[in-house]
Structure formats: C-alpha cells, structure tokens
C-alpha cells in the first residue's frame, strides 16, 4: 500500500489522493497535477489493478496488459488504444523520471473497456469505484432556521445510516463503501462549526459549535428512490427546539440528552446486527493443553456457546459461531464466515500457553500489519478465491487478505480497549493486557476483530479457573459489556490507513 502512495518525483504538483473503492477495500491512489490535468502513476495503477506495464522505448510508448488484453499509450498523444479501439484522454501520458503518469480518466476510458468489472471515476469526490460498490450520492446543505441550524442530506439511492453523538460533534455514518459527497461551502455558525467527510469516507461529521445543545433528525422520502435526512441542531440553554417534524416519517434515533456525553450504555441504533464468535481450534487441532488435561479447543467451544447466549439475550443481535461442535475448521473459513455473513464484529476465543508456568491472565489481541509494508508481493498478488458461506466461492481481486483487516485497525483497537476495560476488574489480566500482533485468523476479517486469550492453560491457577462456570459466566458478561462499550464509539471515524501501527505490541492501554 505504501508503494501506491509513495511519491518519487518532485516535478508534478502533488494533489489530494483519490480513494479506490472496491467491495472489500478502500485504498489510496496518489495523484498529481501536470498542468491542468490530474494524473496518476501507472506504477500505482499496476499494483492496484494487477496490470503489467511495459515500456516500449523505441516506439516511445507504454503497453499496459491485463489478462491478455492491452492498452497502448504513446508519448505526447492524448489517445489510447484499448482492446484495438481508440479512445481520447484529456491529456497525453507524461514520463516523470522513471515512472509514467496518465490522466485519471485513463481508468474509466482506457482501462475500463478491457477490465473485468466496471471502473468509474468520480473526480469531484476523488473516488475510483471498482465493480459493484455502494457509493450513494450525499448532497449536504445547511441553512439557519430560527434559533436552530438545519442540515439536510439528500441521499440517493436510499442508504441506511446511523447518527451518533460524540463530544463536539455529530457523526452520520452511512452503510456504504464510500460516499459521493457534496459538501457546502460553509462559514462557521454558533451551532455548527464545520461539515466534513471523515477519513473513513463513510461518515459525515458535523462539528458542533459551543452553543449546541441537542439535535433532532427526521427522514423524508424523495423522488427517484432517494431520501432526505434533516438534522436540526438546537442551542443548549434557553429554549428546547420545537419538533421539526415537517411531515416526515418517523424520526430516527432519539437524540441524546443535552450534555454532550452520551451515557455509556446508550445504544447506537443499528450499529451492530451480526457478531461472529470464533471458537479457536477444534477437531484434531486441540490447541494448548493444561497440566490437568484441559484442552483449549473444548474451552473455547464452551465459552463461545455461552457468549452467544449472553450476546443474544442482552444485545438482541444475531450471533454466528464458526463451529458448534468439536470439528476442524480451516482458518480461512473462520474469517470467511464473518465476511460472508456481513458480520459487524469478529471475536475469536482462545486459551494461551507459555514456556513459563508463572505467566497468567487474559490478553486481548488485535491485528498488526507487521508483514512488510514494502513486501513486493503485497501489491502483486494474484486474485484470491475465497470460500463463500453456503457454498461456492468468490474472488477478491487484487488485494491480499491482510488488507481486509487493515481497514479496521482503528476500530479493532477500540474494541480491544473496550473489552479490556470491561474485563480488567472482573478477570485476571496479564500485565500486557492489550497486544497487537500479525494473527492469521484476524488478517482476513473485513470488520473490527479481536482475539481474546482468556488465560494461560500452562498456569495451574488459570487452568483451574478457566474451566469453572463462574469464570466463564463472568468473562462472557465482561465481553458483552466490552462490545456494548465499543458500540458507543462505533461511529468514530477511522484513522487513515497510512497510520496503521507497526509490528509488535502497541498497547492501547496498559495497567501499571
């Protein structure tokens, strides 16, 4: 990924990066201006779209190969021959040092016709859409209305969303791969300081002003399958805003109380619908073994069933188990189940082992991308075929599995932190309670994911405790509370990919 955003030549003027949105990933694509034309590097495209780029020095051009089909570019000509047909480009390709730059329109005009899935370039929102992705258009407008400030979102096509409140801002998060967002030119108002798109690209943040007190949201149908969401912001002190129910259908989630801190357990409506619980190991793979013969695979299954019951009864969301028997489940199938059932969270349960008996306590892990960010194979892997839940398979193009979890590192870290926070006073925690490591089962999960090591089977006290009903009940409840806690922050914007933490342990929170 870093190769895709690396800039080598100072000559062109760097522009804001685009985001390449596919069903499974969101990746940055560096851009630069050459004159008035917005250009991208062919090397970056080669890595992102599995292209073979070959320079023809004699002819002064470049041949781009994709699955036996070719696009031919000639230096100085604003034309491309794609699959034998000529298409025009807004600017000729340019050689900058050792790399070739092409106009961003190369993607839809030249590469699109020979590419397997649809390629769409949305210049205004700096998006490249690959295949069938959910990218609704969201036009945001803002207007004062009396003592209130009204923000309207015209959403097309209709897309579900959640609104959550955080100190200093409201977040409108859409169930989409990205947003084709049109944001208003805007000067700060007493109730509303700014409107911007979060770095995750799926959330529009309203930074509220010091006088903001509460908000009210309502939804109105629009023509052509779109909807209009209206968010009215009211000032804090004197008068409570009148209901802004302009004939719209039912208002969505009740606004939180005026103090900007929502209560801990207040659910963010619709944030969690499906959770996949993974009982580690199984079948011939017994996992770790305690001194008295306790097997990790048995403990994880018992706890998974218990946790499923606890989540279903307390959160009312769907819970799927990666296994509900003593059976071997390939490691890829575990994340695949979560991906294919569009799970919102993935929690893998394990029991630990150490070469030293004294090591004890629970640890919460989330993924780290230790794997060479500059590993050449990372960007040149062939398409992968994944087993699909319920039979068949599906192809994830161009992108190794790690990338799936990389998108969620920030949220996974929050989940790990929330779980640890709820566990720490109820179960024995290891001195390193939250750790980050390149764990195989988490790598492919395309949602926030953690792996919980409930204790050390190699420690006699832990082993004895782990098998007890009391411990498993307490731990299950702590995990549910951790998930609830996480749900409160579920709409926080994600950190940009480039800041993905490095290898090793990056404690989110450590006890002294």
């Amino acid at each position: 990924m870093t190769t895709a955003i690396a800039r080598q030549g100072p000559a062109p003027r760097t522009a804001l990066p685009f985001s390449v949105i596919s069903a499974d990933a969101r990746r940055p694509l560096a851009t630069s201006f050459v004159g008035e034309a917005l250009m991208v590097s062919l090397d970056d495209l080669a890595a992102l779209f599995q292209l073979a780029v070959r320079e023809d020095a004699l002819a002064g051009g470049v041949t781009i190969g994709y699955k036996g089909r070719t696009v031919i570019l000639t230096a100085g000509q604003a034309l491309a021959s794609t699959g034998g047909r000529l298409v025009s480009l807004p600017a000729p390709p340019v050689k900058d040092g050792r790399r070739w730059l092409v106009p961003v329109e190369f993607l839809n005009r030249a590469l699109g016709p020979i590419y397997d899935v649809r390629l769409d370039v949305r210049k205004n929102s700096r998006l490249v859409l690959v295949g069938n992705v959910r990218v609704p258009r969201v036009a945001v407008r803002q207007e004062p209305s009396g003592s209130q400030t009204r923000v309207s979102f015209a959403i097309n096509p209709k897309t579900s969303y959640t609104i959550s409140q955080e100190p200093g801002r409201l977040l409108v998060r859409f169930e989409a791969d990205a947003l084709d967002a049109v944001l208003p030119a805007f000067s700060p108002l007493p109730l509303l300081q700014s409107i911007h798109l979060s770095e995750s690209g799926q959330t529009i943040a309203l930074d509220v002003g010091p006088r903001f007190g509460s908000f009210r949201a309502s939804l109105a149908a629009q023509d052509e399958g779109g909807v209009q969401l209206i968010v009215d912001l009211s000032p804090a002190a004197p008068e409570q805003a009148p209901a802004a129910s302009r004939g719209g259908p039912p208002a969505i989630p009740v606004p939180p109380p005026p103090d900007l801190q929502p209560p801990a357990a207040q659910p963010t409506a619709g944030a969690l619908r499906t959770i996949v619980i993974d009982a580690g190991h199984g079948g011939e793979d017994i996992g770790a073994r305690g001194a008295t013969g306790v097997l990790e695979k048995d403990i994880t299954l018992a706890l998974a069933r218990r946790l499923k019951g606890a989540i279903e009864s307390r959160l009312g969301v769907r819970v799927l188990l990666t296994r509900d028997a003593d059976q071997a489940v390939p490691i890829d199938d575990r994340a695949a189940l979560a991906n294919n059932s569009k799970a919102d969270l993935f929690v893998s349960l394990h029991a630990n082992a150490s070469a030293r008996q004294t090591v004890s306590g629970a640890q919460i892990y989330f993924f780290s991308a230790d794997h060479a960010a500059d590993d050449p194979r990372k960007t040149t892997m062939p398409p992968q075929t994944l087993p699909a839940f319920g039979g068949g398979s599906r192809v994830i193009e161009m992108i190794p599995w790690e990338m799936a979890q990389l998108r969620h590192l920030g949220e996974s870290g929050s989940l790990a932190g929330a779980v640890e926070e709820q566990c720490r006073d109820r179960v024995r925690m290891n001195p390193s309670p939250v750790l980050q490591a390149p764990l195989r089962v988490l790598a492919g999960a395309n949602m926030p994911a953690v792996l919980v090591e409930i204790g050390f089977l190699t420690n006699p006290d832990d082993e004895q405790q782990i098998v007890s009903d009391a411990f498993q009940n307490v731990l299950s409840q702590a995990l549910v509370d951790g998930i609830l806690r996480y749900r409160d922050v579920v709409s926080q914007p994600r950190p940009p990919q480039g800041t993905a933490p490095g290898p090793g342990r990056q404690p989110v929170r450590r006890r002294p």
Binding site: G280, H281, D285, I286, G287, A288, R289, E296, I331, H350, A351, N352, A353, S354, A355, R356, T358, V359, Q363, Y365, D370, H371, A372, D375, P376, R377, K378, E402, N430, P431, S432, L435, A437, P438, L439, R440, V441, A443, L451, E453, F456, L457, T458, P503, G504, R505, Q506
Partner: protein, 200 residues
C-alpha cells in the same frame, strides 16, 4: 691364505656396512638438515574457529518478553552462512534459568536468502508439531528467530519461517507466517543486570 682371505672378507663387509650406513642413514640425515624446517611443519595447533558475538533471544524470567543474551557463535563467511550459524545457535537449548521459546527438538533444515534481503528459515517439523500452542508463546517463538536474524544481520530485512521445506500458515494456529516478518522490537525486554549476569 685362507685366513688372509677371511680377514679381507670381514674387512670388506665392514667397509660395505659403513658405506651403506653413510649412504643411507648419515648422509640423508645430514643432507636433509637445511630444508628440515618446512617438512617439519606437521599440522600445528588447529587454527581457532573464529567467533562473533551475537544476540540470541530467550524467554524473560517473568515470561512476558524476549530477552537478548550475548553469546559467541561460530563465524560464518557471508550473510547466508552467518545466518545459518545464528539460527543454529538460536535453536540450542539455553542453560537454566533461561528458557527457549522454540519447541524442543527443532532443527534447522536450510536457509535461503533472496536478493531482496528476505531470509527463509526452514525448520524441522518439531517447530510446529511440538509447539505447545497459545498465541503468546507462538509470538515469542516466531520473534525469537526473526529477531535473532534481523538484529545481528542488518542485511536481512525480514524472515519467513518454513517448516519441513514448505510455507506454512502458522506454527500453531496463530501467528501469520505466510509472509516474511520484520524485526519485532516490541517483544524484547532490554536485559536487566541480572540477565546479564546469567549470560555465558
């Protein structure tokens, strides 16, 4: 006459004997005296195999980290040979109270080095089959090898562990080994004076 002949015979025998002795014993010994030095060079004390100092990683006393132990290991000519010596040293069982994070019986089968600075460390099947499991233990297993190589040999940027000549997903179901791993400094605890005292 007979008597005179007998004396002559004895005299001749003595003379021949003396001549023989001079020709085959004294003379060669005398002649060989000057060049004696080179031929006397029977293998002198075998040259001491050169050693280098290297940091080898074992499980810390509290079990929460890896600690580096400075050890002398055989010198290897070139990065690849040195990498082999390093991994071999890393696989040796340490003296108590040190504990290795690597399953007992694990042997080094081969090392391969790519131009790109990736080292492939091919371990015997015990690395996986005899692994006690557990995420934490597996992390320490993997990073004791990765760190030993990458810390001591800057030319090696990343390490991929193979088992029985094949790429593996994991050793025991946790740490992703499908790609080379970089040095994991965060798993290392810098040695305490007590650890230093334990060094050999």
């Amino acid at each position: 006459m007979t008597r005179g002949r007998r004396i002559a015979l004895v005299a001749l025998t003595l003379l021949l004997g003396t001549a023989f002795a001079v020709a085959f014993v004294v003379l060669p010994r005398w002649l060989s005296e000057p060049p004696a030095t080179p031929s006397r060079a029977e293998p002198a004390a075998p040259p001491a195999t050169p050693k280098i100092k290297a940091r080898i990683f074992h499980v810390s006393e509290d079990g929460q980290h890896l600690v580096a132990i400075e050890r002398e290991i055989p010198f290897g000519e070139g990065t690849l040979a040195q990498a082999r010596r390093l991994v071999e040293a890393q696989l040796e069982r340490p003296a108590p109270p040190l504990v290795s994070a690597i399953p007992e019986g694990t042997k080094l089968r081969a090392v391969h080095l790519l131009d790109t600075g990736e080292l492939f460390v091919d371990l015997s099947r015990e690395a996986s089959a005899a692994h006690p499991g557990g995420t934490f233990d597996e992390i320490l297993t993997v990073y004791s090898i990765v760190n030993a190589v990458t810390e001591n040999l800057p030319a090696i940027r990343s390490v991929q562990i193979l088992v029985d000549g094949r790429e593996v997903d994991t050793l025991a179901g946790h740490v992703d080994l499908r790609r080379p791993l970089h040095r994991g400094a965060s798993w290392i605890l810098e040695p305490t004076p007590r650890d230093r005292a334990n060094q050999d």
